[in-house]
């Protein structure tokens, strides 16, 4: 059978991410997939040479808009641990609240895009309509819808009033009810199953060997989630990672759907347990030494490495984002599938290429 090499991306109607894949195809079946990057590299890590440790918060928030709050939390947490800063309990809870709201809107965004990838336009609109309520909460409580910029080294810069807490709880009830109304469609519909079950297989052993993270890892039966580390206020909340066993696009879809509801529950728990007190500690001086910091983003585990020499600039900042870790697993998922399934399988890892390239 003759081999054909088909270029997929960097622009594709259902994939708003600038990644190029060279797909070798035999008889409509993909036999090899070689990724190519480099369309949106911004050198954000390098900016630590000219921006001080406090300005770098705004830089890391721009690694990824959708996960901006969680990037900032990972960064601040690492610097705080290096400097021995004690973050007030209320700030730790507020960090959880905003980061889980980010996970809800990220997963709802992805569920919509995923539906769009297999041509289910009305489902796409439904998920994005629900997501708007979470964006409204972000806007009302932080001043911004996407890049909320609430973290500072030592805590957070905004607080929630009792009225806002009551309003968020009532909005979350609506978000949960409306999301559950779509459950049977996104999980049981014939079209969804036809396009996702058994597509883009990643076994448990492959997921571990290739370094998969997040829903891509948990969809292959591995019970691992960085929130188990108990950072911020997660140590005080009832939390168990969501795991599915089948390792296909459908399993990754199920993980994200269930995690959306789980995150709503985590926000409720954090709001109900929210302790009184300060929201930030004053920080003096600069970090020194080497350290790492990890948190769980919607797409998976985020890793920061810091090297500092006691000046206002970091010596080295290394950011390993979840999509960076999930590209080798993606290269393993694609061989063996039909060409028509490539967009759906690529989307099943929730790719964020501007994160990957930074």
């Amino acid at each position: 059978m003759a081999k054909t090499v088909i270029p997929f991306g960097p622009q594709h109607p259902v994939l708003p991410e600038p990644i190029h894949l060279s797909l070798t195809v035999e008889d409509e079946i993909v036999t090899e997939a070689i990724p190519a990057l480099g369309y949106v590299h911004r050198g954000l890590e390098k900016l630590c040479d000219i921006r001080d440790i406090h300005h770098m918060i705004q830089i890391v928030e721009r690694v990824c808009g959708i996960c901006s709050k969680i990037h900032a939390m990972c960064y601040c947490q690492g610097i705080e641990e290096m400097m021995g800063v004690e973050v007030p309990d209320r700030a730790q809870y507020l960090r959880v609240i905003w980061s889980e709201l980010h996970r809800v809107h990220s997963h709802l965004l992805w569920l919509g895009l995923f539906a769009d990838a297999f041509g289910f336009e009305s489902l796409f609109y439904q998920f994005w309509r629900i997501r708007e309520r979470v964006m409204d909460i972000n806007e009302a409580t932080t001043g911004n819808r996407v890049i909320v910029s609430v973290n500072v080294i030592g805590g957070v810069r905004r607080d929630l009033t009792p009225d806002q807490i009551r309003w968020i709880l009532s909005e979350l009830d609506i978000v949960e009810r409306e999301t559950r109304e779509l459950e049977s469609t996104i999980l049981d519909d014939y079209t969804v199953r036809k396009r996702t079950v058994g597509k883009g297989m990643l076994t448990r052993d492959q997921a571990l060997a290739l370094g998969a993270v997040g829903p891509t890892l948990r969809g292959s039966g591995v019970k691992e989630d960085a929130r188990q580390l108990g950072y911020a206020a997660f140590k005080d909340l009832d939390f168990e990672p969501i795991v599915e066993q089948d390792g296909d696009s459908y399993a990754r879809n199920r993980v994200r759907f269930r995690e959306t509801l789980q995150s709503i529950n985590l926000v409720r728990q954090a709001l109900r347990k929210l302790p009184e007190g300060e929201i930030a500690t004053k920080v003096k001086g600069f970090p020194e030494g080497e350290h790492t910091s990890r948190v769980e983003q919607p797409r998976g585990e985020l890793f920061y490495y810091f090297k500092a020499d006691g000046t206002k600039h970091l010596d080295r900042l290394r950011i390993r984002t979840p999509t960076f870790a999930n590209i080798p697993p993606l290269a393993a998922m694609l061989p063996g599938i039909e060409l028509a399934d490539v967009p759906v399988v690529v989307l099943s890892i929730d790719p964020c290429i501007s994160c990957t390239e930074r």
């Binding site: 070689i34 030494g289 350290h291 790492t292 990890r294």
Partner: protein, 124 residues
């Protein structure tokens, strides 16, 4: 107060042996970090994880010499090794998928953007 990262010092000779030991013990590659030290050397840090616990290996690498690639043992390393090639001008020997310094960079770029102590990029 200075933070301290507990690392195991390794050399080019013991790198593969250490990687195999960690893989056999159930660890998987979290990522690698390259740190510019001075005009001649970088640190290569290998971060491995198992059940959310991290271990770190540290290898001092002369910029003028090729570094051994671990992508033949840990395929997931190919992307980060290509990234380090682009950003620091290092060359990895035995890379299973080698973008030859052009993962991110264009051909006309002759510098190593992440090096404080710049070196001219060489063919890998």
């Amino acid at each position: 107060m200075a933070a301290f990262l507990e690392t195991t010092e390794i050399t080019q000779d013991t790198l593969k042996e250490e990687i195999h030991r960690l893989i056999d013990a159930g660890y998987r590659l979290e990522t690698m970090t390259c740190v510019d030290l001075d005009e001649n050397n970088v640190d290569l840090l290998y971060h491995f994880t198992k059940d959310l616990q991290l271990v770190h290996l540290r290898m001092k690498q002369p910029k003028a010499e090729n570094a051994p690639s671990i992508s033949d043992v840990v395929f997931a390393a190919f992307l980060v090794e290509n990234e380090i090639q682009d950003q620091f001008g290092l060359c990895f020997e035995g890379l299973v998928l080698n973008f030859s310094n052009f993962l991110y960079l264009e051909e006309e770029v002759a510098t190593t953007p992440f090096c404080k102590y710049g070196i001219t990029r060489k063919e890998s």
